[in-house]
């Protein structure tokens, strides 16, 4: 483990993130809310400043130089996303406002493809954003929502998945990694089995992408979605990968500029991919900064990131479990650097409040995954999520803070 931890020069990496030098309540900031959003390195901040300082212009329609430069930079970002996810074609990458937007494009698009009695399978580990659009889709179409249950370790019960699959199954949706528990789901198996009954698969990669580099062609996944802000990029931008044949089948999500080929009052023909799904002026700066963030993370290397974060996970798990009365939720062997826990019967909100006073940012509550909390019969958890710029010393600070909270609240 020590060797893996040493693979990254974490002190040097920390210098890339200006926010990590600030204090909270007079204490050095310890940022352990990475699963909610990651911090932003200087190179990404520079890309944002550079765009607004030097070539801010609307894209895809201007003949002037600034517009051309902005268009080139934005389309370059799309290429970076394509390369990162190893999509076959650049036009299979739709730039969106984030994971939720991406999911809604698919959920809305499937309205015209489903009939009453068709079935959609989702996992019990879903974020709210991955449940509600499907419920709405079912209401519109008369399709039926089925759920793959989870076990005590926070893993999907795959035997039940096998039973749920049938010729009625048209869509399967699951996250790659659970935001509340950190469980890595067996998406290869999920995809393969769904395809065997002819169903399409959408994978929510919002939590996975900060830790792993998905290869959408190797996965043979139909749709894959993610957000830039969990990957050291800005908020308000994300991606949707879809296989070309699927994206051609789906109708546009929104009407507006950019997404049309020809408009008369009698008839409008839609633009080809990817513009069909990109109505209106997009988040140009955000897209460019997303590309810069991917460059930054690939520069560090996802293998290095994963190995280092696993070291932090092991260390954090071991240290936190030394605290008497502390229980960790999500104990799968396949998980990323997320530790969801509670202290005896103490409310997670109380623990979060005290550790915040000590400069430590953790998440408390149900993490937009209420069904998981209902499963464990708890109001929520305290969630510490580690990133490659965190250190063992910061974990030590968390452990001390949790001990202090326990002393005050018991």
């Amino acid at each position: 483990m020590q060797k893996e931890i040493d693979m990254l020069d974490v002190q040097k990496i920390r210098e890339d993130f200006p926010i990590l030098t600030r204090e909270v309540h007079g204490k050095p900031l310890v940022y352990f809310d990475n699963a909610a959003t990651s911090q932003t390195p200087q190179v990404v901040i520079d890309a944002i400043v550079d765009y607004y300082s030097n070539y801010n212009a609307n894209i895809h329609r201007g003949v002037h130089t600034l517009s051309q430069e902005a268009t080139d930079a934005y389309e370059m970002a799309r290429k970076k996303v394509q390369k990162h996810f190893n999509a076959k074609h650049t036009h299979e990458i739709i730039l969106t406002s984030g994971t939720t937007h991406s999911i809604n494009i698919i959920a809305t698009g499937f309205t015209s493809l489903l009939s009453e009695g068709d079935e959609i399978i989702v996992s019990a580990l879903e974020h709210h954003s991955n449940i509600v659009p499907w419920q709405m889709l079912c209401e519109r179409t008369g399709a039926i929502l089925k759920v793959i249950p989870m076990n005590e370790d926070g893993e999907l019960v795959m035997d039940v998945y096998d039973q749920l699959l049938s010729n009625q199954t048209k869509l399967v949706f699951t996250n790659h990694i659970s935001n509340a528990l950190g469980t890595i789901n067996p998406i290869e198996e999920i995809i393969e089995k769904a395809h065997s009954v002819g169903a399409a698969v959408l994978i929510d990669g919002a939590q996975a992408c900060p830790h792993v580099k998905p290869d959408v062609q190797a996965l043979d996944v139909d749709f894959y979605v993610a957000s830039a802000h969990k990957l050291c990029g800005p908020t308000g931008v994300g991606m949707l990968y879809g296989k070309e044949e699927w994206l051609n089948k789906l109708p546009p999500y929104q009407g507006g500029g950019e997404m049309i080929e020809q408009v008369t009052f009698e008839k409008t023909t839609y633009a080809g991919l990817p513009h069909k799904f990109e109505a209106g002026t997009p988040n140009i700066c955000g897209g460019i900064a997303f590309g810069a963030a991917l460059d930054y993370m690939n520069g560090i290397g996802f293998e290095n990131i994963a190995a280092y974060e696993n070291g932090l996970l092991e260390y954090g798990t071991q240290k936190l479990l030394e605290i008497e009365g502390l229980k960790i939720y999500g104990t799968s062997k396949n998980k990323t650097s997320v530790i969801s826990f509670n202290l005896n019967d103490i409310h997670p909100y109380d623990v979060g409040t005290i550790v915040d006073k000590l400069g430590i940012a953790v998440r408390t509550g149900h993490h937009c995954a209420q069904p998981i909390m209902d499963f464990y019969k708890i109001p929520g958890t305290v969630r510490a999520s580690f990133s490659f710029y965190n250190t063992k010393e910061e974990i030590d600070a968390l452990v001390e803070a949790v001990k202090k909270a326990k002393m005050m609240l018991s």
Binding site: T353, T364, G365, M408
Partner: protein, 140 residues
């Protein structure tokens, strides 16, 4: 005692402490003396919205004064609602409606006053005042 006098008393009590830990410990202590809501009133209708933890409040009018009882599943939140109830309970509805809550700032809990704060201190104050408004309407 008037609402103003009780607030001054609380500010004096918190003034004895030098750091946030002692203030929080005292607040947690105050939570233990909270007049607890009867189990039958711990219904979803009585939960204050906007809190990450659950807070139940019940009010009754006796001799033209409002009596509050409450509970919470989080200890810090219980301390906060206990302070508010100490200030507002056994007061005439008109006095509750008119009262300001600047003392929260003075006892070093200003950070809880932000309307977006997940503990919902602002929602709690609003709910207590809503009860007072309802009872004031009955009196008119």
């Amino acid at each position: 005692m008037t609402i103003q006098e009780i607030q001054e008393e609380i500010v004096d009590e918190f003034g004895m402490f030098d750091d946030w830990m002692q203030r929080y410990e005292y607040m947690i202590e105050l939570g233990k003396s909270l007049p607890l809501i009867e189990e039958k009133y711990k219904t979803d209708d009585n939960i204050i919205k906007g809190c990450q933890s659950k807070v139940w409040v019940h009010a009754e009018m006796k001799d033209d004064k409002v009596q509050f009882t409450a509970d919470s599943d989080a200890i810090i939140t219980k301390g906060i609602i206990a302070i508010l109830i100490r200030v507002f309970s056994e007061q005439h509805p008109a006095a509750i409606i008119e009262a300001d809550t600047d003392f929260i700032d003075e006892i070093g809990l200003k950070e809880h006053l932000s309307p977006t704060r997940a503990n919902g201190l602002v929602s709690m104050i609003k709910q207590l005042k809503m009860y007072a408004i309802a009872y004031q309407t009955q009196l008119n």
